[in-house]
């Protein structure tokens, strides 16, 4: 590697790029001839015609510069000739962040229109991933990543809140239909279908869950919702963090296996569909031994098989369809939603362009979570607003939750006279329940509930627990963590934080004690201070890595000396799994350790 780079973070990015340089990626990096075709395809360019920095090839050039300078022979020999001038200082990273996160929704429209087959959106995603891995990302992405690592879903929904919400929806539906069979089953082992959702459904707008439950009921389906591993969305797709992508997918896969289901149904969510069905198995490098399908396919099948009957005249407003980028361009999934839509509404008209040529909702790629770029996003949304207005439709239907919010924003901003709906809503609204499968199954006479054994009610003493404690309570549940730290105050502080997050802690005050304890106890993870009396952290780290008994235990350096980074990473041993500067921020510590534990578990398995 070149020694001209001043920034440790950029050096690290160069290293992290190496394993991503597959033949396809290199093809995209070297294939661009800067012909300008992509220029005309991008909604950012169309709405910022005088800003050359909006051109897709310019955005991809940021990664290209890094690649050419450090990996391609032309850039190593003639850097000036081939534009191999990557940034070298930390201060340059903010600009890279703004380009990668703030001027592209990774919608891949440019990719589809490149005569050279350059996948610009993938290059942009790689740039996001490199930045995220050295800690440079928008605040919104940081928060969502933290919640994903700690609680297994991107909106920080606690398990008990999730289950309680489903129970509430279930009761309402049973009451509305006056039929016990309309219950939403949770964790039912052996069900035909496991149904997963986007957290915004359970946190803010559960109408789609009730509608889906109604359709499953009408089709007399044997289905269930999992109590864990239910978040099909995957911020790894947006942040470029493949490790998170793998961990999020594995939650679904493992829960599905535990429930013994053969079919995972993904609610209408573009990035959920893409990251679960198309990317997840690759990120997690696991085999996939069950069917994954969009709920659109499920609903369509029910109609074709006659399990549900619909009356399209119940949806008579003029309707148009918006293709989600992830569904249409990345998964080739665009005819089935149309087929279904035409079965459940009377007045359907296409918007133009459509299918793989459709314009982004402008809220894709995680844009809805990054407020700092909202003004630019709304300007770029003019393209979409005009496209919708031209159809004259009163309802824009889409099969993506992200598009629902993106389109909702631009409809308000540009004061369009229409609303956004999903197919599940139209199907539920068009149901003719008395002709559906459920009506052909006689209601069982209510079996009197067996009188339950009188149970001694446990005495519950209400304890006021601050919210932040509740939130991270289970993040490290049952994990055994060795804290190596010479200062007593810090040691107690770290131990308390980790115990609050559910961990079992062990402690050591210097390098020798750390190694002895690690050998004797084989903890799941070690946090290691660097400057300690006696055998210091650097020596201890090398010794741990060279000891076959304990070399696989993940290590997170926690130090007041960020400048030691280089000393540690330059050693001829496997680098530490994490490196955190003091003072330690509670939330970052727990999220980081959780990430390390998840990632190393995946690699070890």
């Amino acid at each position: 590697m070149s020694t001209e780079v001043e920034s440790y973070k950029i050096q690290k990015m160069v290293e992290l790029l190496a394993p991503k340089l597959t033949r396809q990626v290199v093809g995209s990096l070297v294939g661009c001839v800067h012909c300008g075709m992509c220029h005309e395809t991008c909604h950012y360019v169309m709405t910022h015609p005088d800003d050359p920095k909006m051109t897709p090839s310019y955005k991809a050039d940021q990664l290209r510069k890094l690649f050419k300078r450090h990996y391609d022979w032309t850039g190593r020999v003639f850097p000036g000739w081939v534009g191999a001038k990557p940034p070298t200082r930390d201060v340059d990273l903010d600009e890279l962040k703004d380009i990668a996160f703030g001027t592209c929704t990774n919608c891949r429209r440019c990719t589809f229109n490149c005569p050279m087959g350059v996948d610009t959106a993938t290059l942009n995603r790689i740039m996001r991933g490199l930045l995220t891995q050295v800690g440079v990302m928008p605040e919104g992405v940081r928060v969502v990543s933290k919640d994903t690592w700690e609680l297994g879903n991107q909106m920080g929904v606690l398990k008990e809140d999730y289950v309680e919400t489903l129970e509430w929806l279930s009761e309402e539906l049973v009451m509305e239909l006056d039929d016990e069979r309309a219950t939403i089953p949770i964790d039912k082992v052996g069900a035909n279908i496991v149904y997963t959702i986007n957290p915004r459904e359970v946190k803010y707008d559960p109408r789609t869950i009730s509608e889906a439950a109604l359709i499953f009921y009408a089709a007399a389906e044997d289905w269930t919702m999992p109590s864990w591993g239910w978040d099909q969305t995957n911020f790894g797709l947006f942040s470029g963090d493949d490790a998170m992508g793998a961990a999020s997918y594995r939650h679904l896969q493992e829960k599905n296996a535990e429930l013994g289901s053969q079919r995972l149904v993904i609610s209408e969510c573009g990035h959920g569909y893409r990251s679960t069905r198309c990317e997840g198995p690759n990120w997690s490098k696991t085999d996939q031994d069950f069917v994954m399908e969009s709920s659109v396919m499920t609903m369509l099948r029910y109609i074709k098989e006659g399990r549900i009957v619909v009356d399209k005249t119940k949806n008579s407003d003029p309707v148009t369809f918006h293709d989600s980028c992830n569904n249409a361009r990345s998964c080739g999934f665009y005819e089935e939603p149309r087929e279904l839509l035409k079965l459940v509404c009377t007045d359907f008209q296409e918007m133009y362009p459509n299918r793989t040529e459709n314009y982004c909702c402008t809220g894709g790629g995680g844009a809805m979570s990054m407020s700092e770029y909202t003004p630019r996003r709304l300007v770029s949304a003019k393209v979409k607003a005009d496209q919708i207005a031209e159809t004259g439709a009163k309802v824009v239907v889409t099969s993506c939750h992200n598009c629902v919010d993106g389109l909702g924003d631009l409809i308000r901003h540009y004061k369009l006279d229409c609303q956004v709906k999903q197919l599940v809503h139209l199907v539920a609204n068009a149901l003719v329940l008395e002709e559906c499968a459920i009506s052909k199954i006689p209601k069982e006479k209510p079996v009197p509930e067996p009188v339950p054994e009188p149970v001694q009610e446990p005495v519950v003493i209400p304890v006021e627990i601050p919210a932040d404690r509740v939130k991270i309570a289970d993040a490290l549940s049952g994990r055994r963590i060795l804290i190596v730290e010479d200062e007593e105050d810090t040691r107690i502080f770290l131990a308390t934080l980790l115990q609050d997050a559910g961990a079992v802690t062990l402690e050591a005050v210097d390098g020798d004690e750390a190694i002895a304890t690690a050998r004797a106890e084989k903890p799941d993870l070690i946090t290691l201070d660097l400057s300690m009396p006696g055998k210091d952290g650097v020596e201890a780290f090398i010794e741990i890595r060279n000891d076959p008994d304990i070399r696989d235990i993940p290590v997170c350096i926690v130090t007041g000396h960020p400048e030691f980074r280089k000393v540690i990473y330059d050693r001829p041993v496997r680098p530490p799994e994490g490196y955190m500067d003091k003072p330690v921020i509670e939330e970052d510590l727990v999220a980081n350790l959780r990430r390390i534990l998840e990632t190393s578990r995946a690699e070890g398995s």
């Binding site: 969502v144 359970v202 809805m368 979570s369 700092e372 003004p375 919210a467």
Partner: protein
């Protein structure tokens, strides 16, 4: 960061129009913010929702689940959407002076 101004009200908001300093919230601010969310008049029912959201947020630092909001106010979900057409996350939370909900919303 941006400044939102309406009448005598002048507050710092993020680029999505959510308050940055929730302490500056008061009824006048809520009424001003309501003009951005197609809420024409703030009724007692609006205040009931906003007050609950606010109390919860000040205590726990996050917006409550929709389940809790419906349970505590006694309003069905449909009613919440009637009161705040943009929905609980983008409508009600914004008027109640909460920070923008995290994630893809």
């Amino acid at each position: 960061m941006a400044i939102f101004e309406y009448g005598d009200v002048s507050i710092e908001v993020d680029e999505d129009g959510f308050m940055l300093e929730p302490d500056q919230w008061n009824e006048e601010v809520a009424a001003a913010l309501a003009t951005t969310e197609a809420v024409e008049e703030l009724t007692e029912e609006h205040w009931k929702v906003m007050n609950y959201l606010r109390d919860y947020y000040l205590e726990f630092g996050v917006a409550p689940m929709i389940r809790k909001l419906c349970k505590e106010t006694g309003f069905p979900l449909k009613k919440i959407y009637e009161l705040f057409p943009s929905g609980p996350a983008k409508g009600a939370c914004k008027l109640a002076g909460l920070a923008k909900p995290t994630g893809c919303v």
